[in-house]
Amino acid sequence: MSYLVNRLLSMMLTLFLISVITFTVTNILPGDVAMMIMGTQSNPEALAGLRQSLGLNDPLIVQYGRWIGGMLTGDWGNSLVFKEPIAPLLLQKMKASALIVLFSMSIALVCAVPLGVWAAVHANRWQDTAASSASLVGVSLPDFFWGIMLILLFARGLGWLPSSGFIDPADDIWGAMRHALLPSLALGLGLMAHLTRMTRATMTGILNQEFIRVARAKGLDEGTVVWRYGLANAVGPVMTVAGLQVGYLFGSIIVIESLFNFTGMGWLTYQALLNRDIPLIQASVFVIAAVVMLANLIVDLLYVAVDPRIRLS
């Protein structure tokens, strides 16, 4: 229980730091909010007036206070460029991103774990070499390259899958999956390769442990030894690595969503950066960092569930 409380308090502190960093970095972005609002109608007097009314002349700390206050009370302001209120906009886009991030993570885990275990069981044999080589190639290909290849093959070549667009699963679950499949694969293939490598490494270590020998000495069959005794111990570490990859995925979606015209958080953040839509940049960067942190928190809590050793400490 105190573990949970500590973890949550620590999360609060990290969130606070995230907000400070986000705010600071976005405030040194060239071009200011006032100019972005006025655009081609900018003239010095009007700009000065607008800056005053937007509070841009206040000390940074006051501006930060106003911003974080707004974020906390749910008043995330409006996008300068798109004029939409930011909070519902982010929610909508996060839904799209969550779809492909979760989808790709599931694809990656479902394939990587058995493959990694299989490679570890056959360590240094051809099975291992094949799986390890394939995953090495996998982690070496940039995800947008995967994306391009997938588009060429499945959308252009075979015409099996649509190459773009996001469909809300609430509207059309089948359509949503079809549209999310290619971007998820583009994200997931590299991830799968990475997780295969991690699973293999973890399992190799575990299979050399004494308790595995003990399990064999008990006369348990090899399947039980590997898939129950071994894998149960690998779940935690593999999950942690997978959790850390959520951060990587949220970086990759910037490229992949733009490639697949999949309008999620990555796309939105990129658009916001391109347009210097500072309130939107601040909110989306903050939300991404918070989601990444949250994902890791969830993984940590799940770890507690799968590894009894952490429960007490």
Binding site: P30, G31, M35, M36, I37, G39, T40, Q41, S42, L80, V81, F82, K83, E84, L89, Q92, K93, A155, R156, G159, P162, S163, S164, G165, F166, D168, L259, F260, N261, T263, W267, L268, Q271, L273, L274, N275, R276, D277
Partner: protein
């Protein structure tokens, strides 16, 4: 704010709409059918949906179907009645009287009255609204509504382009009274389609408005999928996911035209491009240097290279069929040796001149063009490099701060010459971001404003063009084509392009079963 083809609001243009594809030609003679949902692969992301506030062509293209303006233009760019049944201009040109069409319904079920017109115009001219076109109403002294169907606008001083500017939704749009708050997210107008929803960055859904004053449209719905990747858009069209797309990738037009299963609508011109020099940058203060750069550019090759030939080179930015178009002007041919000679005359030997070309990624073909020009600049001994800027950075650096050496921009074909030449080249011009200050141009553009005779006025503008060309104030490159690709089932495409060349109208478009 304001993305691709900004300033389209100041424009109206028309051009030849050409339809390719035999099936479309044949079927277009059959009787229209009602029903069906048209899925349109829209090339851009809609932004702020408030017709007053938005300056983007992308948003206007969609809202064209939601809103209607008080007057409009026909294909000859003549202002004609629209929501106003008739209009009158007083002798002195200061008082405009509009008689409104009775029984025009808004999407919210209310009937349009003069109060709505006053509301709309007042909203637009109120600086707090942040309307892009607020300056159209700069000279308006009063707006009176003697009865429900009459609106009288009195100007403080003559403003020749006033009526023309009202022919666009940007300034002339009529919104129901009191709807200002919701326009940004759920626009309400009296156009042929109702706005249903927008999934931001993803799609906009429009639904037929059965009470449209001009008669109901044929399509049940129009869904505008926002697909910014050109190849993705094209794939969507080919696989049948999309009924139509705008802005076919330039390199693929010939291919699509040749495809018997698809039809292509092409029109000319969509917009025009020019290369800009910062006249405050020391080397470019010398007209010889500017001329030298003009000589470095092979306009035909550049058009081919950047736009795959989808356009036509021109030395004049005037609308090609307009009276002010100076056909006598010809572009300077490429002559690297001459360019070098001019540069050394100006005191710049090979390698002495160092320039940065700022191009915006918002127009990918500008990046291509800049790369091609860079090769020529280098051949002429100029040490040039490119800086790619996002639209926002281009706006702030080049447009507002005027911090650039060479850049490139495009504008919608401005058929109103005062607006075109005064804004762009007069020292006081609103769009003079190149810090141009040419006494001749200043004098001529001022003179044109008080020249009443159209022919004489056109002559003055031709002189302006001559100066712009002789002094190489900018290098005018070409007019660009507009295109639409569609499935053969999409009918009525001959009506789809608005005379301004940017907006698409779905009122008369229908889907063959």
């Amino acid at each position: 704010m304001k993305r691709r083809d900004f300033l389209k609001t100041t424009t109206a243009l028309m051009g030849g709409t050409i339809l390719y594809g035999a099936p479309a030609m044949a079927a277009s003679h059959s009787a229209p059918v009602t029903g069906g949902t048209l899925i349109w692969g829209h090339s851009e992301t809609t932004q702020n949906l408030d017709m007053h506030q938005t300056g983007t062509a992308s948003t206007g293209r969609v809202l064209q179907n939601v809103h209607d303006s008080i007057v409009t233009v026909d294909k000859d760019l003549k202002v004609i009645p629209n929501l106003a049944e008739s209009f009158e201009q007083s002798e002195d040109g200061l008082v405009y009287t509009f008689k409104l069409r009775p029984g025009v319904m808004f999407h919210n079920g209310k009937t349009m009255t003069s109060a709505d017109v006053k509301f709309s115009f007042d909203r637009c001219r109120n600086p707090d609204t942040g309307a892009v076109n607020f300056e159209v109403f700069n000279n308006v002294a009063s707006i009176e509504t003697p009865d429900d169907l009459t609106v009288i606008i009195t100007l403080g001083q003559v403003n020749a382009p006033f009526l023309s500017r009202l022919a666009e939704n940007g300034a002339g749009v009529i919104m129901p009274e009191g709807s200002g708050e919701v326009q940004g997210t759920t626009p309400i107008g009296c156009g042929p389609f109702k706005f249903v929803r927008r999934e931001f960055g993803n799609e906009v859904e429009l639904e037929r408005f059965d009470d449209y004053w001009g008669g109901p449209a044929y399509l049940d719905k129009v869904i505008a999928r926002e697909i910014t990747e050109p190849t993705v858009r094209l794939t969507g069209l080919r696989t049948g996911e999309l009924h139509m797309i705008n802005d076919i990738p330039a390199d693929r037009i010939a291919e699509i035209e040749a495809d018997p299963n698809l039809q292509v609508v092409a029109w000319f011109p969509l917009n025009w491009d020019f290369v800009n020099f910062n006249h405050d940058y020391e080397p470019f203060k010398n007209p010889k240097v500017r001329e030298a750069f003009d000589y470095m550019i092979d306009k035909e090759v550049l058009l081919e290279g950047a736009l795959w030939g989808q356009g036509k080179t021109t030395a004049s930015p005037s609308y090609p069929t307009s009276a002010s178009y100076n056909a006598a002007l010809t572009q300077r041919p490429q002559d690297i040796e001459k360019a070098k000679a001019l540069l050394s005359e100006a005191g710049y030997g090979p390698g002495d001149l160092k320039v940065v070309f700022k191009a915006t990624t918002n127009y990918p073909y500008h990046i291509e063009a800049a790369q091609i020009m860079l090769e020529w600049f280098r051949m002429a001994g100029v040490d040039a490099s490119i800086e790619q800027l996002t639209w926002a950075d281009w706006l702030s650096q080049c447009w507002v701060d005027k911090d650039f050496q060479i850049t490139m921009m495009n504008f919608f074909t401005l058929w109103e010459p005062d607006f075109l030449y005064y804004s762009l080249w007069n020292t006081e011009g609103a769009f003079n971001y190149r810090k141009i200050s040419n006494p001749m141009v200043d004098e001529l553009t001022a003179k044109a404003r008080v020249t009443v005779d159209p022919a004489e006025r056109a002559e003055v503008y031709k002189q302006v063009q001559q100066v712009v060309h002789d002094e190489t104030l900018d290098v005018v490159l070409w007019f660009r084509n507009g295109t639409i690709g569609a499935q053969p089932t999409v009918m009525g495409l001959d009506t789809i392009v608005h005379p301004n060349g940017s907006n698409l109208r779905f009122h008369k478009v229908w889907l063959a079963a």
